[in-house]
């Protein structure tokens, strides 16, 4: 009994790490652009496709494919950022919703147009199971947890100490004042977006070996899983997002075991409703963004 629960908690932490890396990008983009990025899952998909393309067409090793996947996502993010996301700064909320939904459709269908709508098979990664403290996990999952931790520590350091990180925090607090003191808001917005999209791409490449199937519509589910997390964590709150992602991951895992797999996806939305009712600013309130 105890063993099962511990194992399910470990399972939850693994899926929580994936959610965390995707959600942190989305929450940062919200902090700076004040727009929910409905195309966020699409960057996750693009990262996976980039790596799949590198492995399937050029037979490259997985670590190289990871780099290619992330770089490809970042390049596309530069284009979208310049043409779409920069223009959202200061625009009404509807503009952000419509623009990102549109981008999501375009990215998804462009990929389907080029590679076809069928399921592809991702063959890279480290899928051999290893036993750790009595649990068997694929090596890739341990890698996911480690990379997740590195990403979060890196982000904390960046927003606390680097110039760009401080600018991001400033923009998320007051756009007008930033403009007054000479911070290039559009520049900051663009870089935040590229960073967020790149992280989503990274998370896609990292999970591809354990999720195996690659297809154009794979990002949609991710977007909808991410929404409750960033709201639970408090929009724009990096640390809160990390904790919320872990809570959701573990809760889902326990529900799947003790209630039934079919109820798994309800966890996210049920918590979303509860949080919106009782703590609309997120579980950790909005003392500080970033």
């Amino acid at each position: 009994m105890f063993y099962t629960i511990t194992e399910q908690v470990v399972n939850g932490i693994v899926s929580g790490s994936v959610y965390a890396i995707v959600a942190v990008g989305m929450t940062m983009i919200f902090g700076v652009l004040r727009a929910i990025n409905f195309a966020h899952g699409e960057y996750y998909m693009l990262g996976t496709f980039g790596a799949w393309f590198a492995i399937d067409y050029f037979d490259l090793p997985y670590p190289v494919a990871v780099v290619i996947g992330v770089v490809a996502t970042a390049v596309i993010a530069v284009v979208v950022g310049n043409f779409v996301m920069q223009r959202i700064v200061g625009a009404p909320a509807e503009a952000g919703v419509l623009a990102t939904l549109g981008v999501s459709l375009i990215l998804q269908n462009t990929v389907i147009l080029f590679f076809g709508g069928s399921y592809k098979f991702f063959s890279g990664g480290y899928i051999e199971p290893v036993t750790l403290f009595g649990f068997t996990l694929a090596e890739q999952r341990i890698l996911i947890i480690i990379v997740g931790l590195i990403v979060f520590i890196g982000l904390e350091l960046m927003v606390t100490y680097s110039r760009m990180g401080k600018a991001m925090r400033a923009v998320s607090q007051n756009i007008e004042c930033c403009a007054v003191v000479g911070i290039d808001v559009r520049h900051v917005a663009l870089w935040t977006f590229i960073l967020g999209a790149g992280l989503a791409g990274l998370s896609g490449v990292l999970t591809a070996p354990v999720n195996v199937s690659v297809y154009g519509g794979m990002g949609e589910l991710i977007t909808f899983k991410t929404l409750p997390i960033i709201i639970m964590g408090g929009l724009g709150n990096v640390r809160g997002t990390f904790v919320a992602a872990m809570i959701l991951g573990v809760a889902e895992s326990l529900v799947a075991t003790y209630v039934g797999l079919q109820f798994r996806d309800t966890v996210g939305f049920a918590t979303l409703m509860l949080v919106l009712m009782w703590r609309p600013h997120g579980l950790f309130s909005a003392q500080a963004r970033f």
Binding site: N11, Y119, A138, V210, L221, L261
Partner: protein
């Protein structure tokens, strides 16, 4: 403006009535010209267009073979294709078009179960024989024969057949009695488990855990560890091709690969699925209506001929339509007429040798069809033979 429009509408209307009168009188002497008019309703456009095109090619090839050998009782078979677009609405109007305008003698169709269900009352009203070749929903023949619709026949195994045959094979050949369920949360996945449950007592078996996953689900670890600890001997999975490799890989992770096999249907046998998780797929059991690698004289001859003719290997839909046209031709031959009543009677009592085994019809006009069982051994699907099982109809 309004008067002008309605006047024009009136003119067009009258013209159409006139046209219809002419056309129906022109076709009044149906099929006395030495032809057998065979309508084929299939999705020729839309998302399932590929299935429709295979169906038509299969049917056309059969017609060509029969006509080449002198036809049925001296009559040539003429296949008339009508597009259902895979939707019930279009399927019904395609069926009406075949009956009213083309005046077909018999109809084969559709691939999609929902379309076939909608076509049944239409052919019943018109008294035209519908021989379905590719729909798997059991309702179609629950409602046929003694169940109500006298003009619907089906020459295809149902989802219920599949569930039953898989369970029977697992129980009788593998000695399995305890199962875990991991199926897709759709009508297909849930119905397959309902049918499985219906036959559990027959094989003194039980289901220990029951879970359904959403399409697109990627994390099965929790449920697979639960299954591992439940004492189940096999996992019954009715799902889609994209989930099987994920489940397989995670089975390896939680340590049940090679110990608890997958049984059911989720394209376990495709090369990419086996490659994704060879250890987990070992021992997987799946039932299929037909597959190109099936080793029988007739099946091999069909595959060779189809591949030569269309420069593409046939799929299941091509085969079932090819076989069904031949089946119908044999019924017409035995009836020695294209009179519908006589052909229907001949079909009810037919003994037809198909590529997978003998075909007969039960009192629900459902073909008693063998299903081919595949088991993965040494990383390759091995055909374990064709099995038939008797369906219990609801009283």
């Amino acid at each position: 403006m309004t008067t002008y429009l309605s006047r024009r509408g009136f003119c067009v209307g009258t013209a159409l009535i006139g046209f219809q009168a002419v056309s129906s009188s022109a076709f009044a002497g149906r099929a006395e010209d030495g032809m057998v008019k065979l309508g084929l309703v299939a999705p020729m456009s839309g998302p399932n267009a590929r299935y429709g095109s295979f169906s038509l090619r299969g049917a056309q090839m059969a017609a060509k073979e029969i006509n080449g050998a002198g036809g049925v009782g001296g009559r040539k078979i003429d296949v008339l294709s009508a597009d259902s677009q895979g939707t019930p609405v279009e399927g019904v109007s395609a069926t009406r078009r075949l009956i009213d305008q083309d005046q077909v003698d018999f109809i084969i169709g559709d691939v999609s179960s929902s379309v076939t269900l909608a076509m049944q009352p239409v052919v019943e009203d018109a008294g035209v024989l519908l021989l379905n070749a590719a729909s798997s929903n059991p309702m179609i023949t629950y409602k046929a024969g003694v169940g109500g619709f006298k003009w619907t026949f089906r020459n295809y195994p149902t989802d219920e057949n599949r569930a039953l045959v898989v369970l029977q094979y697992a129980a009788e050949k593998k000695g399995l009695t305890k199962y875990a369920v991991l199926s897709v949360d759709t009508d297909y996945g849930r119905a397959a488990i309902e049918f499985t449950k219906k036959y559990l007592p027959r094989f003194k078996s039980q289901i220990l855990t029951e879970d359904y996953y959403k399409e697109g689900e990627v994390d099965f670890r929790s449920v697979l560890s639960k299954i591992r600890d439940s004492g189940a001997q096999a996992i019954i999975m009715y799902g889609n091709a994209d989930s099987a490799p994920i489940v397989g890989r995670q089975m390896i992770e939680v340590g049940i690969a090679g110990k608890i096999p997958l049984i059911g249907n989720a394209e376990f046998n495709t090369a990419s699925t086996i490659k994704a998780a060879p250890k987990a797929m070992e021992g997987a059991i799946e039932a299929a209506a037909w597959l190109p690698s099936y080793q029988s004289e007739r099946s091999k001859a069909f595959v060779d001929k189809f591949t030569a003719e269309y420069r593409e290997a046939p799929n299941n839909h091509a085969y079932v339509h090819w076989e069904t046209v031949h089946l119908l031709a044999k019924a017409i031959e035995q009836a020695k007429s294209i009179d519908r009543e006589k052909v229907r009677a001949a079909l009810s009592g037919i003994h037809y040798d198909s590529a997978v085994g003998e075909v007969t019809f039960d009192d629900h006009n459902q073909a008693r069809l063998p299903m081919i069982l595949l088991e993965i051994e040494g990383g390759k699907p091995v055909i374990k033979g064709a099995y038939t099982a008797e369906i219990d109809y609801p009283k």
